[in-house]
């Protein structure tokens, strides 16, 4: 039991992070905290992806100082990097929008920034 838990610890961590992120996104009304929630969600997905890429006994695909042996195809690492780049763009955009909303409404509460409803 403990061994499987330790072996699967990164997956557990990813799920816990996702839970935290969804908790924030549901219950926190502060717009900045929503941005944090999205960033944490993104990190949890990144952690999940990187964990998938672990191959026991594989060698990192870097030719410099590489020992002999089978190299790992770095697909998930590429996916993770792409997702990090996208997450940076997303959070920069959301932050600028939050600042503009703050300028217009003078509040960071998502309950207050609902001109449109119904």
């Amino acid at each position: 039991m403990t061994e499987t838990l330790i072996g699967n610890f990164p997956f557990v961590a990813a799920v816990v992070l996702m839970g935290i992120a969804l908790y924030i996104l549901i219950f926190r009304r502060n717009l900045l905290k929503i941005v944090m929630g999205i960033t944490i969600l993104s990190s949890s997905v990144n952690l999940f992806l990187v964990t998938l890429g672990y191959r026991a006994g594989g060698i990192a695909p870097i030719y410099t100082d590489a020992p002999e042996g089978p190299m790992v195809l770095p697909v998930v690492q590429a996916l993770t990097l792409t997702n990090i780049v996208i997450a940076v763009a997303t959070s920069a955009l959301i932050l600028s929008l939050v600042i503009r909303i703050y300028r217009h409404t003078g509040s960071l509460d998502s309950k207050k920034s609902r001109r449109m409803k119904g």
């Binding site: 870097i62 030719y63 410099t64 590489a66 990097l81 990090i84 780049v85 940076v88 920069a92 600028s96």
Partner: protein, 152 residues
């Protein structure tokens, strides 16, 4: 910030730039690449903003220049991709040629930069774009929070 901080930030910026460029140009042989190197340089810009204040930095990091660099980085990337269209889009046409055309050696070696074909060029393009883009974003956010606007 105090004079000490400003002086140190000034001196450190040179090292940040060198390290960022190193990460960009060695992206195909060591961990790193265009985005990572660009982010390092942009973090140097953040350091300058913290030390000198966004109003001071705005004077020499003009938005027009930044967007010019950003566009040309993206343009370089996509043009390199287009250059392979004689065979297939994104085709690595530089492999085996004089420029970046070496075959990477296996085994224990210090790393050969002169390999990778178009990948170093693309790293350079991405590095330019990310440097300019992230600096502009950070600068815009800093200006926003101090109540100024970036000029259009």
């Amino acid at each position: 910030m105090s004079k000490i901080v400003r002086t140190v930030a000034n001196q450190l910026m040179a090292f940040v730039l060198v390290f960022g460029l190193y990460v960009i140009m060695h992206g195909h042989v060591t961990p790193g690449g265009g985005f990572q190197g660009g982010a390092i340089i942009a973090s140097g810009v953040v350091m300058l903003i913290v030390a000198f204040g966004s109003g001071q930095i705005k004077k020499f990091l003009r938005e027009r220049r930044l967007s010019l660099v950003e566009s040309s980085g993206a343009l370089l990337f996509i043009l390199v991709a287009f250059a392979g269209i004689g065979t297939v889009f994104f085709y690595n046409f530089l492999v085996g040629s004089r420029i970046f055309g070496g075959i990477p050696p296996t085994g224990s070696n210090p790393g050969d930069v002169w390999t990778g074909g178009v990948i170093p060029l693309m790293n350079l393009a991405v590095g330019l774009k990310v440097t300019a883009g992230l600096s502009a974003a950070v600068l815009a956010l800093a200006l926003f929070s101090s109540g100024e606007e970036m000029e259009e």
